[in-house]
């Protein structure tokens, strides 16, 4: 048993070494296909992440309170709001806070606001649990006493949800598609590589080798080539991504900022995907492609 495993590994390694053209081509094709997959995978992950970040900016309703409310009224209101279904968090923003924010935003023109009788209103900022529910929550808030105005980004939210659906659907679609195409390309490569060794396989059969005896070394060869291809793809993807990340990432969480996921947060899934695909294809490709040549 050990003997036979050793035999297969020895022969598999020899197969790789003695067909350098084929080895280079196979590793290259596996790496190229997986690299493409890696790119798409990174893009989809990032766009998805990006959409979610944007959503976080818009899952808030701001309600402006009437000016003559007592602190007790304000406090009661908060309790009422918190009881609404789908509300996650309620934060008070006093008109002073609002003014300070405004001053910050205005930057060097903020002196215009100095000495002014604060014209702003107290407000509650309400976070919802699910973006989809934001319309319903807003409707309910409008009926409350003591609330003068209810504001949220109705259109933006609607469109954002549609966009996020699109990204998810098409992301999954494209990844599945690309995975199939990579599979196709790699198994083609294996098919062609085996095609040029068809005679060799036939000869083995003619002198009485069993199917598994012939398959063994080829499977090991598939594992080696697929694994090396996957590792190569991982390296290229890793450093390419990192370069890209350092060049473009802006560490900020506000709308439209370019927040790119750091490589460390995707390298694990990439490694897993690449290895499983590379080696898996190596094995399955060998077995399937060998089938027709073993029929003698």
């Amino acid at each position: 048993m050990i003997n036979s495993i050793m035999y297969n590994i020895k022969e598999g390694v020899k197969g790789v070494v003695r067909n350098p053209t084929m080895a280079v081509v196979s590793i290259g094709s596996v790496a190229a296909s997986l690299f493409i997959l890696g790119i798409i995978f990174s893009i989809v992950l990032n766009v998805n992440n990006f959409t979610m970040l944007i959503q976080n900016q818009f899952d808030k309703v701001q309600v402006y309170l009437e000016k003559d409310l007592s602190s007790q009224d304000i406090f009661n209101l908060k309790n009422q709001i918190e009881e609404i279904d789908g509300v996650k968090d309620v934060t008070f923003e006093s008109k002073e806070d609002a003014l300070n924010k405004m001053k910050k935003r205005w930057g060097k023109e903020s002196y215009l606001l100095e000495g002014l009788d604060n014209p702003l209103q107290n407000s509650y900022i309400i976070e919802v649990e699910e973006l989809e529910d934001i319309g319903k929550v807003a409707e309910k808030l409008k009926k409350f006493n003591g609330i003068e105005d209810v504001r949220y980004y109705r259109d933006v939210v609607k469109k954002l949800m549609k966009f996020s659906d699109l990204v998810k659907t098409s992301g999954i679609f494209i990844i599945v598609l690309l995975a199939s195409l990579s599979l196709f390309i790699i198994s083609n490569t294996i098919k062609l590589a085996l095609h040029s060794r068809k005679k060799e396989i036939n000869i083995m059969k003619y002198i009485g080798a069993t199917d598994w005896f012939i398959r063994g070394p080829f499977i090991i060869e598939g594992i080696i080539l697929g694994g090396l291809g996957a590792l190569l793809a991982l390296c290229v993807t890793y450093f390419g991504y990192d370069y890209f990340y350092n060049k473009f990432s802006v560490p900020s969480y506000s709308v439209f900022s370019i927040y790119i996921l750091p490589i460390s947060s995707i390298v694990d899934s990439l490694f897993l995907i690449f290895m499983v695909m590379g080696i898996g294809i190596g094995i399955i490709g060998s077995i399937i492609s060998l089938r027709r040549y073993l029929k003698v």
Binding site: N3, Y7, K14, G15, R18, N19, K199, E200, I203, M204, K205, Y206, I207, G208, A209, T210, D211, F213, V296
Partner: protein, 234 residues
């Protein structure tokens, strides 16, 4: 005891290829255990086809081939390797593995039947010595002359001491003296009990050895003679 000693029996065997060519028609013959049989006939007579049927490299169109009591036209696919291992074959086109050295090509035949590497290391050099290729053990097939390739093919065929040895033109690329040595080798093997079927054009060898000669012409057996000669009616 007739029934027991028959190793190979052809019963009404016909073989026509996909393109319509009839390569063998109505072959009926028996070959006993331990016989040495020459298969002769002009080019295209059907000798190689006869051998390919024996090995299940090609399938009969109609008829039966019975080896050691078993109808080989009916054995299941997965039992074919087992069946082929009992037969040593020298192919007309050598069929050496291009990516293996001479040594490895011969060793491979032992590996597939699960021989220990100790056995392999002892027996392969011995056999290579017998066919005169000790100094070519590390050569690859494309680095060999035609005759050397043929001898590797012979070495591989006999290394497992098969009970049946089939050789298609084993001396076609050999000079007369090397050919004679190889024939002596085969005779020796035959004397130890191995049945041998050999397709050949080497008139002088056949005439000298005086063994059973089966002559084919256009796919038909035209002569089947104990202690025969190469000549046959055309």
């Amino acid at each position: 005891m007739t029934g027991v000693d028959i190793v190979i029996e052809f019963k009404d065997v016909n073989k026509s290829y996909k393109n319509g060519k009839v390569a063998l028609s109505n072959i009926n013959l028996k070959i006993d255990k331990g016989e040495f049989v020459f298969l002769v006939g002009s080019s295209g007579a059907g000798k190689s086809t006869f051998i390919k049927l024996l090995l299940k490299e090609k399938e009969v169109t109609t008829g039966k081939i019975i080896i050691e009591g078993q109808d080989i036209t009916k054995i299941p696919r997965r039992k074919i390797p087992q069946f082929r291992r009992n037969i040593g074959v020298v192919f007309q086109d050598f069929r050496l593995l291009p990516n293996k050295t001479v040594y490895e090509n011969v060793a491979f035949a032992m590996e597939i039947i699960g021989q220990s590497s100790k056995n392999i290391r002892r027996r392969v050099p011995f056999i290579l010595g017998m066919v005169g290729l000790s100094d070519k053990a590390k050569f690859y097939p494309h680095e060999l002359s035609g005759g050397e390739q043929q001898r590797v093919s012979i070495a591989r065929a006999i290394v497992n001491k098969p009970s049946l040895l089939i050789a298609d033109e084993p001396t076609g690329n050999l000079d007369p003296s090397t050919a004679k040595e190889i024939m002596n080798l085969l005779m020796d093997i035959n004397r130890r009990g191995t049945t041998i079927i050999m397709a050949t054009h080497a008139k002088d060898l056949v005439d000298k050895m005086r063994k059973r000669v089966i002559a084919l012409d256009k796919g038909k057996v035209v002569k089947d003679e104990e202690r025969g000669t190469y000549n046959y009616d055309k």
